[in-house]
Symmetry: C2
Subunit: 156 residues, 2 copies
């Protein structure tokens, strides 16, 4: 997978967090690993289907960081994972993938999005089952880290 293909997701991720929650996130190293597993407390997942490929995107948050992001998005202090938090994770997942989709469409690479699913459960693992390379990117914020994982099957 080409880095030109990944950058729109990273750009969209930073934009969404900055715009929606006024949080500065620092992107870590992009790594290509087959065996890595995101260990989140809350994870947003979405399927992507294009003519030339298909895949999935996950954004996995530790509890403290998603409580901070949701509190800032809603303008009130949220101290527990509740429906508002799950809604925010679904919305962030949609917005990040939708933003990347638009940027990639400008480059002639088109795909459609499924509907997001949010997983809530202390320290769950997210395992993408597909034939291809998985790209993992950590983001750090003042309140903790979150992880973006992008998987596309090898482009036909």
């Amino acid at each position: 997978m080409n880095i030109d293909f990944i950058n729109p997701f990273l750009q969209s991720m930073s934009n969404v967090i900055a715009t929606m929650a006024s949080i500065e996130s620092v992107q870590g190293e992009v790594s290509l690993k087959l065996d890595d597993v995101a260990h989140g407390d809350v994870t947003g997942l979405i399927g992507m289907v294009g003519e030339k490929t298909k895949g999935s995107l996950a954004i996995s948050f530790k509890k403290e960081v998603i409580l901070d992001i949701t509190s800032r998005m809603l303008g009130e202090t949220i101290t527990e994972i509740n429906d508002d938090v799950l809604d925010c994770v679904g919305e962030i997942t949609n917005m990040v993938t939708g933003g990347a989709k638009n940027l990639l469409a400008e480059k002639g690479f088109d795909f459609d999005l499924a509907t997001p699913v949010v997983i809530n459960g202390e320290s769950h693992d997210v395992v993408h089952k597909f034939k291809g390379n998985k790209i993992t990117i950590p983001f750090s914020t003042e309140y903790g880290d979150f992880f973006v994982e992008i998987c596309f099957e090898d482009i036909k």
Copy 2:
């Protein structure tokens, strides 16, 4: 959502478990609920994208039932959630959705599949974020229950 649209998934689910693991599963009542949440220990998820709709499917297993299914699929006794179990859940998710896709294509309803994602974590919740009706169907087996959730946004 029309029951004709759901039956192919149920038929495919029973077929896959019967064929791959020689387990008889008894389908429970199909219910349409907006607020229900599947509480699984291992869940297979897949996104679905068609011209007229999009959605997601989840199959959520309690530990004991997926250990039994995997043991039967592999012909050896598996006592802990390991990579083999996660592989089986990914494979079951793909096969169930692929089977339903073929049955629905015969009826002129076409959709494409994203790649499956498997979640592993004790008692996680699966929350589908979408505009439409969610269909939940419990299946019971000798070793416990599992849940199929089918979500499609309202057909355009």
